[in-house]
């Protein structure tokens, strides 16, 4: 009997160990594997690859959404589709005079047309008002002749942004109770036929709730027109 027990002990011990492994779902093995394989874990470079592939996926998705948006806007006949952007330098600026405008070093030879949208670092700057062969005059958002459709994305309230000759244009809401507060971001309206949708324009600085017939807000523009040297002109093509 003693001899049988002494022969069975190692095997019974192994059996007990395997039962333990089974009962613990192999956590010990997993931990041991983790310990052993630690030097071969994905390092920072592999994390970067992952991030890069995520960025690529996001870019592709954004591009696809932009194409879809352009196609749908074309179907709805909501203005013209922008085919590309042209970089242009600001060669003259008149931001506080009788006319608020800047002069760009690109004109019809580069494909610019009257009404093209001009974007600077930070957001929308204005629309091309006049073009020559090699220059374009941009009417700024601050010019009293400028008026574009915008909305406050947080509350989805639409309004018209009108230049008043100062550095801060006025946003006149169409609704009597826009529920807008200082700090809200103003974007170009998706319903606008003049400008592409959702370009950043500025931030609501103050609101006059007593204005007649609807409240008005003073908007601080996000693109510093008096400081920027380069802008991007969104060139249009017919849908």
């Amino acid at each position: 009997m003693g001899a049988v027990l002494s022969q069975a002990f190692p095997w019974s011990g192994l059996l007990l160990l395997l039962v333990l492994v089974r009962l613990t779902k192999g956590v010990a093995f997993a931990d041991a594997y983790a310990l052993v394989s630690r030097p071969f874990w994905p390092g920072p470079s592999q994390q970067e690859w992952l991030r890069s592939s995520q960025r690529l996926a996001a870019d592709l998705r954004f591009s696809q959404l932009a194409q879809d948006n352009a196609r749908l806007r074309g179907l709805l006949d909501l203005g013209q589709v922008h085919s590309g952007a042209i970089q242009a330098a600001v060669i003259s600026r008149e931001v506080d005079g009788w006319w608020q405008q800047i002069l760009l070093n690109k004109g019809t030879l580069a494909g610019l047309r009257v009404g093209d949208v001009v974007e600077g670092p930070g957001g929308l700057v204005g629309l091309v008002g006049q073009v020559s062969l090699s220059t374009a005059t941009v009417t700024l958002l601050t010019d009293p002749a400028s008026r574009i459709g915008v909305w406050v994305a947080r509350t989805r309230q639409h309004g018209l942004l009108s230049g008043v000759g100062t550095s801060r244009p006025v946003l006149r809401f169409l609704d009597k109770d826009p529920q807008v507060r200082p700090g809200d971001v103003v974007l170009t309206s998706p319903a606008s036929t003049l400008v592409p949708p959702n370009l950043p324009v500025g931030v609501v600085q103050s609101i006059d709730q007593r204005a007649n017939p609807a409240p008005e807000a003073i908007v601080q523009l996000s693109a510093p027109v008096d400081a920027i040297d380069w802008v991007e002109v969104l060139v249009r093509r017919s849908p």
């Binding site: 008149e94 005079g97 006319w99 005059t137 009417t139 002749a145 009108s162 008043v164």
Partner: protein
């Protein structure tokens, strides 16, 4: 046409005006507003050359400057009148040499130019202006030079431009007067 106009280099200096307007050096402005370069060039020219040449120069200058800005508003009426008026001034009175007189004439000229621009901004959109003035319940907010815009920006630009033009005139116009009077004497 008088003698200065026959000198191509003197007449060509008129092209400096649109170039300076475009360059708009920020250090030569008050509150971001540049001086009226047209007034600063036209004043000495008209004083030396007389009313006819002054008016023609005003017309040429207006045509040049109007090309720089979109829209129908024009600087021609004011510059044409100023050229003629300053020309008469130069012919009827002893030659102007005092800085104060030059500064004052430039300020009056700048004021007149600014006021004619303001009037045109208003008169070219009379419906908008009148509706905004009455405070009617417009479904679409008015665009352009409404009374509030005139009050906020118009008076600010007008005041700043009059001031900086009047300050620069004694320096720049005196130099131009000296140079052009000398050229005129040499021509004779």
């Amino acid at each position: 046409m008088s003698s200065l106009a026959r000198q191509p280099l003197c007449l060509a200096s008129i092209f400096l005006v649109p170039l300076l307007t475009l360059a708009a050096p920020a250090w030569l402005g008050i509150a971001g507003v540049s001086p009226s370069w047209g007034v600063l060039w036209l004043l000495p020219w008209a004083l030396v050359e007389g009313p006819v040449s002054g008016a023609i120069a005003g017309l040429m200058l207006g045509l040049l400057l109007d090309g720089l800005h979109p829209g129908p508003v024009s600087e021609i009426p004011a510059l044409l009148f100023l050229g003629w008026w300053w020309g008469r001034f130069g012919r009827r009175f002893p030659p102007l040499e005092r800085s104060f007189s030059l500064g004052l004439l430039a300020m009056v000229g700048s004021a007149l130019l600014g006021i004619t621009l303001l009037l045109q901004f208003v008169l070219l959109q009379p419906d908008t202006f009148i509706q905004a003035l009455r405070g009617s319940q417009l479904s679409v907010p008015p665009r352009g030079w409404t009374p509030s815009v005139l009050g906020m920006a118009g008076l600010h630009i007008l005041g700043a431009q009059i001031l900086i033009t009047g300050l620069l005139a004694p320096i720049l116009c005196s130099l131009q007067l000296l140079f052009w009077r000398r050229q005129r004497v040499l021509q004779r």
